[in-house]
């Protein structure tokens, strides 16, 4: 007989074995085959009979006239709800829930290339007009210029910003971003950036995402979109609402 079952068999119920749990029933079933267990049961029953024969004083018997006394009071739900342990658990769950929600929300709003976009937002804030080659044209035509002059494919300005007039443009290399095209437009000193989308480490494919994503940093706001492996960012000094009216969701 296994030791675990033997331990249980040593504590086998004297009566009401049917009410025992599954493990105990298994232990009893296994022990029943031995003489030792049948002697143990006879011994235990004899002692239990002796215990039940104990004379209980009349004044104590009176206490047990109402047997529900020893069954304990049923705790009211509101007392349980306001128990310090329950409140502590509820607060802990609320904090965990809030942190999880905040993390989830943060994940929902991040996008591939966000660190580079933030870096370029800093570039936007420090760029001087003298750093740019003067070009006066519709922003929508700049894609052709980048393709022909710099061999940058898909560096196209989205239709939402295509009609803005440009003041100047430049193409530069960045350690993290790669080849970056920067366009300054005359409207609200807005700047437009085009740069390669980061690639997946395993598949080497550009990481895609849909729709416009916003980032804010030091008073500047950027609206970022991905198309054909190229990220476009419109950057403006001001709140998100100033950019949102250009962007079609």
């Amino acid at each position: 007989m296994r030791r675990g079952l033997q331990l249980l068999a040593d504590c086998a119920p004297i009566s009401n074995a049917r009410d025992a749990d599954r493990r105990m029933r298994a232990a009893i079933g296994s022990a029943k085959r031995s003489d030792r267990f049948s002697r143990q049961q006879g011994f235990d029953r004899a002692i239990a009979r002796l215990v039940h024969g104990t004379r209980v004083p009349a004044e104590i018997k009176e206490w047990f006239a109402n047997e529900s006394m020893a069954q304990g009071a049923r705790r009211k739900w509101w007392r349980t709800a306001f128990h310090p342990a329950v409140i502590a658990i509820a607060i802990a769950l609320a904090v965990i829930g809030f942190i999880s929600w905040a993390k989830f929300s943060e994940q929902m709003h991040t996008f591939p290339g966000e660190p580079i976009a933030r870096k370029l937002l800093s570039v936007a804030s420090t760029t001087r007009p003298s750093q740019l080659e003067t070009i006066q044209a519709d922003a929508g035509t700049m894609g052709d210029l980048f393709l022909m002059k710099h061999r940058l494919e898909h560096y196209d300005v989205p239709p939402e910003f295509a009609r803005l007039r440009t003041l100047g443009a430049r193409v530069f290399d960045d350690e993290e971003a790669g080849r970056v095209a920067e366009i300054a437009v005359d409207e609200k000193r807005m700047q437009l950036f085009l740069f390669p989308a980061p690639r997946d480490a395993k598949t080497a494919q550009p990481q895609e995402f849909s729709g416009w994503r916003y980032i804010e940093q030091e008073g500047w706001t950027g609206a970022v979109r991905e198309r054909a492996g190229v990220l476009f960012m419109a950057a403006i000094r001001g709140p998100k609402k100033d950019l949102a009216r250009y962007v079609k969701e």
């Binding site: 504590c11 009410d19 749990d21 002796l50 007392r79």
Partner: protein
């Protein structure tokens, strides 16, 4: 547990009084085991004030076929005296087990023992009681 009727009655009264006090303060014990847990601690506290049983290595004997007949010759007070003289936690384990009111899980909860400890306390208690029976009510005298 106490071995003395007067002490047992005092423990009982104190336990009931404590339950009534808690109930009056709106915090009535929600668990029926609370009464037994509380009564046990009060018994142990009382016993700690009195004369302590010497820790002797008890003789043991294998349980015999004739044990039930031997036990039938005893008075409940003899059994109570024997159990109350047992060392803790064996005393609590035997007292609760032979009340035949609790599952082993409930006894573990009241005594705060682990299953191997409870099993050892009960099985060694049986063998020691059998040895005591053999000495005080030998099977041969029953025939």
């Amino acid at each position: 547990m106490c071995g003395q009727q007067a002490e047992a009655e005092q423990v009982f009264q104190d336990t009931v009084r404590e339950a009534a006090f808690l109930a009056a303060n709106g915090d009535a014990p929600s668990d029926r085991l609370w009464f037994f847990r509380e009564a046990r601690w009060r018994c142990l506290a009382l016993a700690a004030k009195g004369v302590q049983p010497e820790a002797l290595s008890q003789e043991t004997a294998e349980i015999t076929e004739s044990a039930p007949e031997q036990i039938a010759q005893l008075e409940p007070e003899q059994l109570a005296a024997w159990i109350s003289a047992a060392p803790e936690p064996q005393r609590s384990a035997l007292a609760l087990y032979y009340l035949d009111e609790f599952s082993y899980r409930e006894i573990l909860s009241i005594t705060e023992l682990k299953l191997p400890e409870l099993s050892a306390a009960i099985s060694s208690g049986r063998r020691e009681f059998q040895a005591w029976l053999n000495a005080s009510a030998p099977a041969a005298t029953l025939e």
